[in-house]
Subunit: 388 residues, 2 copies
């Protein structure tokens, strides 16, 4: 059955951007809109890119194809960083440079999931991941998790996961620090997930996009560094969050050499390799991160504290990331949920609706506190206080 003008089933199964439906209303607000809906940074880059004529001269080959696993200089400085900051004992061949953590997560699903396989997603979770599982032909099992950890840090994680595992489950998706809830998992909690994964022979997809963005000196622990976990874990990192280089579009995956080879196979069939020149640009910022990253973290923590001190609603205090995630049910005041979202827009604040983060979060709202300047953030908070 020739199919022009129809697209594949995948196109209908997955959602586009969460915010598409609001684009015109947001545009109508123009400069008045305080944009708290999207995860981005208002800060100018803290590290000045050294790109000039001498950069191009000293990076011969910047316009040419490179090793599809990544350029040696970047992989080597990341090995040093993974060792020093994340307690990974890895070598160059355990790393793959990707086009953002988005790309690393996408190829992990293509490399691990066959049609009919189930992936357990701890929720609330990053919206695009649900679509990635579907694109690979898999199905998702959602387990409400991070909000529960805020309410009850000592709940029995193995028991909870046990209720949702099936014979088709092949992998579990973990994201700490968590977007959207701001939860940072502690070692005890991670050990339970690790035990469960080993018990059930599951792959673990550890999304660590917010590595480096924890507050109050809370440690970020990589589950792959716990006993027996490295071989079954694919750990995903990005340059887009704490490093502030989202527009460079680079990330990296860490795993066993055979897993990295499988991911690379999928990546070359999606995009061949990430940008050579972008990789060359990122070597120095990684090498010098101690001179500029702590100041970024401190500024973000300051923005979080503006919210904690001024936002007059109930929300769990974020331990990391860019976000506040709260149940808006008590603030509806006669409106239905979507009327509230509309009312926020009309009051000049864009927010992210909760349902895209998981089926159990239809009453929730996510706010990003790093995308606007402190003054604009305060204005947004004022508007929300009046409305809620």
């Amino acid at each position: 059955m020739p199919k022009f003008p129809n697209f594949s089933e995948r196109v209908n199964q997955i959602s586009g951007s969460v915010f598409e439906t609001y684009a015109s209303k947001m545009a109508a607000q123009g400069g008045n809109l305080v944009r708290l809906h999207i995860g981005d940074t208002y800060l100018p880059v803290s590290y000045e890119l050294p790109i000039d004529k001498s950069f191009l001269r000293s990076n011969a080959g910047y316009n040419r194809y490179c090793n599809t696993f990544g350029i040696d200089a970047l992989r080597d400085v990341l090995v040093e960083k993974l060792h020093a900051d994340n307690e990974f004992l890895v070598e160059r061949n355990n790393t793959l440079i990707t086009c953002g953590a988005t790309n690393a997560l996408s190829i992990s699903m293509m490399a691990l999931v066959d049609p009919g396989d189930e992936v357990m997603i701890l929720t609330p979770a990053w919206p695009f991941f649900f679509g990635m599982v579907k694109v690979a032909g898999g199905t998702t099992t959602e387990v409400p998790f991070y909000t529960t950890l805020f309410d009850n840090p000592d709940f029995d994680i193995c028991d909870c996961l046990e209720e949702h595992v099936t014979d088709q489950t092949v992998a579990i998706y973990l994201n700490t620090p968590n977007n959207p809830s701001g939860k940072v998992m502690n070692e005890n909690q991670l050990l339970q997930v690790a035990e469960f994964a080993q018990e059930h022979d599951l792959w673990v997809i550890s999304d660590e996009a917010y590595d480096g963005l924890t507050f109050d000196d809370l440690p970020h622990i990589s589950i792959a560094t716990l006993p027996g976990m490295f071989e079954r874990t694919l750990s995903m990192f990005t340059f887009s969050k704490s490093m502030m280089f989202a527009g460079i579009r680079l990330g990296y995956a860490v795993g066993t050499e055979s897993a990295i080879k499988a991911l690379n196979k999928m990546m070359v069939h999606q995009l061949y390799s990430p940008s050579t020149i972008a990789q060359q640009m990122m070597v120095e910022p990684v090498a010098s991160r101690e001179q500029w990253l702590p100041a970024v973290r401190k500024q973000y923590q300051g923005l979080r504290d503006i919210c904690v001190d001024n936002l007059k609603i109930d929300f769990p205090q974020p331990e990391g990331t860019y976000f506040i995630f709260f149940n808006a049910y008590d603030y509806l005041r006669g409106r239905d949920y979507w009327q509230l979202i509309d009312a926020c827009l009309e009051a000049g604040v864009s927010v992210a609706p909760g349902d895209s983060f998981g089926q159990d979060f239809g009453d929730y709202i996510r706010l990003c506190f790093t995308g606007e300047s402190p003054e604009r953030l305060r204005l947004g908070i004022e508007r929300l206080n009046q409305l809620l």
Copy 2:
């Protein structure tokens, strides 16, 4: 059935790099090796990238996420280029910036192919495309085509394609100028493919990665610009070939607005968007292409002529691209095919084996004539002449 430590079936179904098995032998040759196996350029970039402090100042947002369809400035200059160079009558919303043409082709398969669908591939063809169809769950039907066009330019194309079409065929993959054969299709030939596609309600994937790289002033015609073809064609372009910016990793897809939206949905689930700063860097080179692209083309034509004048084997003269593709059967001289490939390597010339370009080309060899300087190319030719 929990599957750790196994990967998905896809990983086994597709091949990695063609050259992986030869990596150690190539490395052993070191600087002596004349590298004719891979499609790349030996030329320094002809357009000097204007990246310096003032570039960063005038491109605010270079480190931030951008519109996932691409930045306006680049889409607009490409619309102008498509209009002027390719006779497309398109607008900004008919374009999608991708991470190379590789990415554009990958998302086209994800957006068009359901499991069980067949894609007709005119061969010889770019090796990764076969894997992309498989990754999307489809199967490939190979039609020996471009080599036949050299031998018999007037053969009945519709008749030939008719023999291979089935009820499961949903799309046809076309690549002109063709890698690896160097064939450039003329209007009469393209009209027949267009008629066949309309007759059978097929999508057309038009891979135009070598747009801008035809010799002897031969025109490159985009099949989408033929009557009735725009709506069913996805046309794919890149900055990696005639533009010489493979290391920037950008390409673009052109199609109807609904097709571009479907492609974008697949792309955001693979990598969100291509690099913002890379897109900003490419605006000026496209705008000023008339000042530097013709000289590049002329240099490449000179390299082709070095081969035509000096290589003492039978091969169809390339009309475009980087490549010479010839049947090595007559040059085996008692060796089997793989012994010949090995003999080339041992003589200090790397070549690309034909079987990765299609099942009917196991006796062929591809040579790239643009990856080495004229002196080194002459040395490679001398070695091949002795060997063959």
